[in-house]
């Protein structure tokens, strides 16, 4: 229903665009609409997979919830795949979609430097929607943090196991 509304709105506004300057109309930027209509990387990875980091964040103001997952190559520390699932407004969905596109192929340390302002600029988000891009930035950080916490736990277990084996033997 939202999609229809969005399309209709865009169809209507396209006519008016010829006569009125864009700044007078409060539209979704075409990139936001693009991400909404052609979502990239929507989906879920297995939360329990050791190579997956899951970031789950929420925005109390609007009750939005965003899940961003990364799949990391253990040896190189490079993010090989990412997916997201967001319940929220078009800007929140687009922000998380952009985030998944941007983290793919990058190192984990690198993606931590992705700033919400860059996402907001890319999507031409109005000031009232800036918190959506902040949510995406926090989701990336949460996913990386989750992955590293998992690794630390596994690492600790991994170190314990050989000691036990030696003790048994």
């Amino acid at each position: 229903m939202l999609r229809l509304g969005c399309k209709r709105f865009l169809g209507f506004s396209n006519q008016r665009n010829q006569t009125l300057p864009q700044t007078l109309l409060r539209l979704y930027h075409e990139r936001v609409v693009d991400h909404y209509n052609n979502p990239r990387n929507v989906g879920s990875f297995d939360k329990n997979d050791p190579t997956v980091g899951t970031g789950l964040v929420g925005a109390p103001a609007c009750g939005d919830v965003m899940k961003l997952q990364i799949k990391v190559d253990e040896e190189t520390g490079k993010i090989v795949d990412a997916c997201f699932k967001t319940f929220g407004c078009g800007s929140a969905i687009a922000s998380s979609s952009v985030a998944t596109e941007w983290v793919k192929g990058k190192q984990m340390e690198e993606v931590l430097t992705i700033k919400n302002t860059e996402i907001a600029k890319h999507l031409s988000l109005p000031p009232v929607k800036l918190h959506c891009s902040m949510l995406a930035e926090d989701a990336i950080k949460a996913a990386v943090k989750d992955y590293e916490a998992k690794r630390a736990k596994l690492g600790a277990n991994g170190e314990a196991a050989p000691v036990e084996k030696v003790a048994d033997a």
Partner: protein, 269 residues
């Protein structure tokens, strides 16, 4: 008359000393030009004294218009109509009983006072609508279109305030946020939260709403959400009473999410 003035000034000084912290300043309005001050007996008759609304033990000992003093400690002037000079007969003083003139907005009168309610979360909101309509019969701008510009302005502002008060108090979530605001506690809406268990639960519910095939399934989820909300309402009321403001803020954040799910369900139905 002079006795009253003495009392007023004495209490004023004490009040200013004790209540200078920002926590209380939100609710208290030190405005020497304000025409609405409450002093003695005319205002206290019939109104129950909410000594709990003024934190600090000493105020509880003063049996006359404690709430009045806490909110409007003004020296000297009393509530009287700007038009005919008649003294105000009842609180809150939004319109003159004698000449019917609409009075200027006094921001220190909070929304609960406008509707004559105690500042508690569990207030009965059933007769809110009738009180709201009663006020609008006295304050609505349409009634003053032939009056002076000053009065038309007062009417526009007063009735807008009453409308705001009505909508804020009638919905549980906005009522809760407003109550915290009166205590000077601001609910930071910009900060993202990361409560994994709670958010995972919300994710699941939102997915269920998306996948729900008929209105029966939706109604079931709606019912569940209402149940959760009711328990968080109680949680807020308790936290507020015990002045546990962090817990109160958490309750509000939870409520926001459940209300959002309800909205999505309604959109889908």
């Amino acid at each position: 008359m002079s006795n009253r003035k003495l009392w007023t000034s004495a209490l004023c000084i004490l009040h200013r000393r004790l209540y200078s912290s920002p926590r209380f300043s939100a609710g208290f309005h030190l405005n020497l030009e304000s025409t609405s001050v409450f002093s003695c007996s005319p205002y206290h008759a019939g109104k129950s004294i909410v000594s709990g609304s003024c934190k600090g033990g000493f105020m509880a000992n003063f049996k006359f218009s404690v709430r009045g003093f806490c909110s409007e400690p003004v020296v000297g002037s009393v509530d009287k109509c700007w038009n005919c000079g008649t003294l105000a007969m009842s609180k809150p003083f939004l319109a003159c009983e004698s000449c019917k003139s609409v009075q200027p907005v006094d921001p220190s009168i909070d929304y609960f006072q406008i509707f004559g309610l105690e500042k508690e979360y569990d207030v009965k909101v059933d007769n809110l609508e009738s009180k709201y309509k009663d006020w609008q019969k006295k304050l609505h701008p349409d009634l003053v279109h032939s009056k002076s510009e000053k009065e038309r302005e007062y009417a526009a502002e007063q009735s807008a305030r009453v409308i705001d008060a009505y909508y804020t108090l009638s919905k549980p979530l906005s009522r809760a946020t407003y109550m915290l605001k009166l205590e000077g506690v601001h609910v930071d809406e910009e900060k993202t939260i990361s409560e994994p268990d709670f958010l995972a639960e919300i994710m699941e519910v939102r997915e269920a709403v998306e996948e729900a095939e008929d209105s029966q399934a939706l109604n079931q989820i709606q019912h569940q959400m209402q149940g959760k909300l009711e328990s968080w309402f109680k949680s807020f009321a308790n936290a507020f009473k015990n002045q546990e403001y962090e817990a109160a803020v958490t309750s509000i954040q939870r409520m926001t999410y459940y209300e959002r799910v309800k909205e999505e369900i309604l959109k889908k139905m």
